[in-house]
């Protein structure tokens, strides 16, 4: 009897380890960007040349005074192309100001400043202002990890949300796909309307 219980222990341990392994295999190995330390913070200071208007700038001060979105995009980024149509439709509603950072659009990344200008001329310009951040100066301050990426900002320029990946305007996003739900323009507009009702401030977490 004693020897049997002694043999049972290692077997139990091994079974438990296998259960852990099995569970581990189904975890998402990617770090969730939702808990970025940037959220809840005031937008960082930055100053960029306006991409389309020579001599003008796009800087931190532009973010004050209204709820806005800041979209990070590049011509070398295929999902930015798909997202562009969504942004055009969002801009057409006139519900929210959209600013943008044209990120790392340089030859070494497979883009260029001229390609970025041509992109907006050809596909339309959904942005109120676009900063030229070819050298990833502002991008490092905003802790951008990839394009596309979108920040939701409150009336004082505080970062309420960080949305990685392309926005979508699907009528009914798949509830099992948390990114599709989070990146849904309809849901973002709902949040923005609630923010406006609350003095344009970020909503408390969980709302």
């Amino acid at each position: 009897m004693a020897s049997r219980s002694r043999a049972l222990l290692p077997i139990t341990v091994i079974v438990l380890l296998f259960v852990l392994l099995y569970m581990g295999l189904y975890l998402n190995p990617r770090h969730e960007s939702d808990d970025s330390p940037m959220i809840g913070r005031m937008a960082p200071e930055f100053g960029l040349q306006e991409l389309l208007v020579p001599g003008e700038s796009f800087s931190r001060a532009d973010l004050n005074g209204q709820v806005s979105l800041l979209n990070v995009w590049a011509t070398w980024c295929p999902s930015c192309r798909a997202e562009h149509d969504v942004l055009m439709r969002l801009a057409a509603t006139g519900e929210v100001k959209i600013f943008s950072i044209n990120w790392k659009d340089r030859e070494e990344s497979g883009g260029s400043r001229t390609a970025a200008i041509r992109w907006l001329e050809r596909l339309g310009n959904p942005y109120d202002k676009t900063g030229d951040d070819g050298d990833n100066i502002a991008g490092l301050e905003w802790a951008v990890t990839g394009a596309p990426e979108t920040f939701l900002l409150d009336v004082e320029g505080r970062i309420c949300e960080r949305i990685t990946g392309p926005l979508n305007d699907l009528k009914s996003p798949n509830p099992d796909n948390s990114q599709e739900v989070k990146n849904n323009v309809g849901n973002i507009l709902k949040t923005i309307r609630k923010m406006r009702a609350a003095d344009g401030k970020c909503l408390p977490k969980g709302e």
């Binding site: 190995p29 770090h31 330390p37 990344s109 990833n136 490092l140 802790a143 990890t145 990839g146």
Partner: protein
């Protein structure tokens, strides 16, 4: 012997050359050797936020290159290692460090091995003692005379 050395060196080259070929190369120059050593150590410690499973030293991602250059610039500006790590943590979170800081959330992670080693040592000593005691018992049992043997011995000695 010679052929063993040859085999070994061929194996050595085969095993390690893909690493050196794959490692990204930046042409950066340093004022002192210690600055270069610090640079190499720091870029091994900082995670590539784009690719996530390698350090910025081992990644060819565009953003990892920008981050290496940022580390290089900060070393040039005289920033300390702590300040450089902090620059990354403030932006990307603790996740960006391969060696997490010791704080209220990570003490268990760092402390558990220190705790487990003495526990293991005590268990090991106990186990050795028990086995030794058992072995001595066994030897005594075997060497002890049975009743019959004792009787024979007593008779012989009469």
């Amino acid at each position: 012997m010679v052929s063993a050395i040859r085999t070994f060196s061929i194996l050595f080259v085969m095993v390690f050359s893909p690493l050196s070929l794959g490692a990204p190369i930046d042409s950066l120059s340093f004022e002192t050797q210690s600055e270069e050593d610090r640079f190499k150590r720091l870029i091994e410690e900082i995670r590539c936020v784009k690719c996530q499973n390698t350090s910025i030293a081992g990644s060819n991602a565009d953003l990892a290159r920008d981050h290496r250059i940022k580390v290089y610039e900060m070393i040039g500006q005289g920033k300390t290692d702590t300040e450089i790590r902090e620059w990354f943590v403030v932006r990307y979170g603790d996740f960006v460090l391969y060696r997490p800081k010791v704080d209220s959330r990570t003490w268990l992670l760092w402390g558990l091995p220190l705790l487990l080693v003495p526990i293991g040592a005590v268990l090991l000593v106990l186990q050795i003692r028990r086995q030794r005691a058992a072995a001595i018992d066994e030897v005594e049992e075997e060497s002890a005379l049975s009743d019959e043997e004792q009787k024979k011995l007593d008779e012989a000695l009469k």
